[in-house]
Symmetry: C2
Subunit: 347 residues, 2 copies
C-alpha cells in the first residue's frame, strides 16, 4: 500500500511530520510512503502548484495525506498558478467527488466554541460535499457585455449522474449513523438545485430506512447556528458545501481538531485537516497536529480498510486530550512535536 | 407620498397591520396608503404571485412595506408561480439592487442568541447585498448532456457596472458607520468574484477614509460565528449575501426583531422583516410585529427622508422592550396586537 505525503505550505510540513510519526508507531505491515511537492512550495520549486510528478504519484497512491496549501507570496499569481489549484486539480484529476467532513465536539474542548456550551456540545454531524462539479468546474471567464462592460461569469451545473453519486454517499453515511439525511439546496431560485432535489428524491427510494429532509441553504446557515444538534448528515453541492462545512467546523470551536476525507469511486482518497496553512505561525512549532493525525485515522478507515488501527488513532487522540495535551490554539503551551509525543504516549 | 402595503402570506397581514398602526400614530402629513396582493395570497386570488396591478402600484409608490411571502399550499407549483417570485420580481422590475440588513443585538435580548453572550453582544454589523444580479438572474434551465443525462444549469455573472453600484453603497454605508468595509467573494475559484474584487478595489480609490478588506465566503461564514464583532459593513453578491445575511441574523438570536431595506437608484425601496411567513403560527396572534415596525422605520429614513420620525419608531421599540414587552418568540406571552399596543404606548 502506497501513501503519498503532500505536506504543502505553511504549517503543512510540521503537522504532516507528526501524523507520519503516529502512522510509523502503528507499524502497519506493507505500507510505503512517497513524498510530493504541492501548492506554493511546488510553485516555488518547479513553477507549478501541481507538477506532473506530483499528479502521477497521486494517481499511483492508495491514499494521499495532505497538509495544507496557501502562501501569501503567491497571492498575485494568475489563478491557475495559485496554491489552491493543487487541491482543485487533485479533486478533479482523481475524480475525488465525495468530501466528508465530520464535525463533533470533543467533550474536553466543549467550551472552545463561540456557541453556548449546551448548543455546541450537541453537535455531531457529517457534511457530505460534492467536489467534482457545480460552479467550481463549469465554463468560466471574463467577457464583454454588448455595451462593452467587463463581465465575469461562471456556469453552475449538475447532471443527474453527479447528483446520484453523491446522494448515494449521503444516504449510506446516514444509514451508518443516526439515519437522518438533510439535503441542502436553493431550489426556489436555481435550476441546478431543482435537478439536485429531484434526483435526491429519486435516490431516496433505495433508502426507505433513512429520513430525508430538504432545506434551503440560507435556512441551513441559520439552523447551523440556532440548533446544529438537529443535523445528522447533510448532503450538498460544492459551493454550498464549502460555506456550510467551514461554518459547521467553526461551530465546533476547535478548528485545529477537524479532519476530512475526499474519496473517489475506488475509495482512493485525499485526507487533510480542514484548517489552512496558517502562514503566520509556520515554522514556529505552534501548530496543532491533531487534525492531521485524525485525518490519517480517516485514511486508515476509508482507503486502507484498517478500522482497528483507525480506532486506535482516534482513541489515542482522545486520551491525549483527556490527559491534558493542549496546543496553543487549545489554550495550552505545547508545541507541535509535544502534541505528537502526547499521542504517541497514549497509543 | 404613496406607500404600497403588501401584507402577503402567513403572518404577513397581522404584522403589517401593527406597523400601519404605528405609522398612523405618527400622523405624518401627506402620506397615503394603497394595499396590493402578493405571494401565495395573490396566486390564490388571481392566479399569479405578482399580478400586474400589484406591480403597477409598486412602481407608482414611493416605498413598499412588505410583510412576508411563502405558502406551503404553493410548494408544488411551477417555479414562476411560487410566492417567492413576488419578491424576486419586485427586486428586478423596480431595480431594487441594494439590500441593507443591519444586525445588532438589543441589550434586553442579548441572551437570546445561540452564541455566547460576550460574542453575540459585540454584533453591530450591516450586510449590503446586491439583489439584481448574480446566479439569481442569469440564464438558467434544464438541458440534456451529450450522453442524454438531465442537467440543470444557472449562469452566475456580474458586470463592472453592477459591482460598481453596490460597491459605492457599501463604501457609503461604511463611511456613515465605523469606516470598515469587508468585501466577501470567492475569487480563488470564481471569475465572477475576480471581477467583483477588481472593481471593489477600483471603487475604493474614491473612499480613502474607509478601510477595505477582502474575505473568502467560506472564511466569512466561519468568522461570523467565531467573532462577528469584527465586522462593520459587509458588501457581497446576491447568492453569498443570501446565506451570510441569514446566518448573521441568527447570530443576533431574535430573528423576529430584524428589519431590512432594498433600494433602487431613486431611493424607492421595499421594506420587510427578514423573517418569513411562518405559516405554522399564522392567524393566531402570536407573531412578533417588531421587525416589521422597524422596517417601517427604515422606510421613513431611507425612502421618505424623515429621520426624526424613524428615530421615534426605533426609540419606541427599544422602550417597549425595556418596559418588558415580549412576544412568544422572545420568551413572553404578548400577542401581536399587544406588542403593537406596547410600541404605541412608548411612542
Ligand atoms: C482552497 C479552496 C479552493 C477550497 C475550496 O473552495 O474548495 C477550500 O476552501 C476547501 O474547502 O477545501
Ligand atoms: C425567498 C427567496 C427567493 C429570497 C432570496 O433568496 O433572495 C429570500 O431568501 C431572501 O433572502 O430575501
Amino acid at each position: 500500500m502506497l501513501i503519498a505525503l503532500f505536506p504543502g505550505d505553511g504549517i503543512g510540513p510540521e503537522i504532516v511530520a507528526q501524523a507520519k510519526r503516529v502512522l510509523d508507531a502503528l507499524a502497519i505491515p506493507g505500507i510505503t510512503y512517497e513524498e510530493g511537492l504541492v501548492g506554493g512550495a511546488a510553485y516555488k520549486a518547479v513553477g507549478h502548484p501541481l507538477p506532473p510528478e506530483t499528479l502521477e504519484l497521486a494517481k499511483r497512491a492508495d491514499a494521499i495525506l495532505f497538509g495544507a496549501v496557501g502562501d501569501p507570496d503567491c497571492d498575485s499569481l494568475e489563478r491557475h498558478l495559485r496554491p489552491e489549484q493543487a487541491i482543485l486539480g487533485l479533486r478533479k484529476e482523481l475524480g475525488l467527488f465525495s468530501n466528508l467532513r465530520p464535525a463533533k465536539v470533543f467533550p474536553e474542548l466543549a467550551d472552545a466554541s463561540a456557541l453556548k456550551q449546551e448548543v455546541a456540545s450537541a453537535i455531531d454531524l457529517l457534511i457530505v460535499r460534492e467536489t467534482n462539479g457545480d460552479v467550481y468546474f463549469g465554463e468560466k471567464g471574463m467577457r464583454k457585455t454588448p455595451e462593452g462592460l467587463r463581465e465575469g461569469y461562471d456556469i453552475m451545473s449538475y447532471n443527474e449522474e453527479q447528483v446520484r453519486k453523491i446522494a448515494h454517499q449521503g444516504f449510506q453515511a446516514a444509514r451508518a449513523r443516526r439515519g437522518k439525511l438533510c439535503s441542502v439546496d436553493k431550489a426556489n431560485v436555481l435550476e441546478t438545485s431543482q435537478l439536485w432535489r429531484d434526483v435526491v428524491i429519486e435516490v431516496s427510494a433505495d433508502y426507505p430506512d433513512v429520513a430525508l429532509s430538504h432545506m434551503y441553504v440560507d435556512n441551513a446557515a441559520m439552523q447551523l447556528v440556532r440548533n446544529p444538534g438537529q443535523f445528522d448528515v447533510i448532503v450538498t453541492g460544492n459551493m454550498f458545501g464549502d460555506i456550510l462545512s467551514d461554518q459547521a467546523s467553526m461551530c465546533v470551536g476547535s478548528i485545529g481538531m477537524l479532519a476530512s476525507a475526499t474519496l473517489n469511486d475506488s475509495n482512493q482518497g485525499l485526507y487533510e485537516p480542514i484548517h489552512g496553512s496558517a502562514p503566520d505561525i509556520a515554522g514556529q512549532g505552534k501548530a496543532n497536529p491533531l487534525a492531521t493525525v485524525l485525518s490519517a485515522g480517516m485514511m486508515l478507515r476509508y482507503s486502507l480498510n484498517l478500522p482497528e488501527q483507525a480506532d486506535r488513532i482516534e482513541a489515542a487522540v482522545a486520551k491525549a486530550l483527556a490527559d491534558g495535551a493542549r496546543s496553543f490554539d487549545l489554550g495550552g503551551t505545547m508545541s507541535t512535536v509535544e502534541m505528537g509525543d502526547a499521542v504517541l504516549a497514549a497509543l
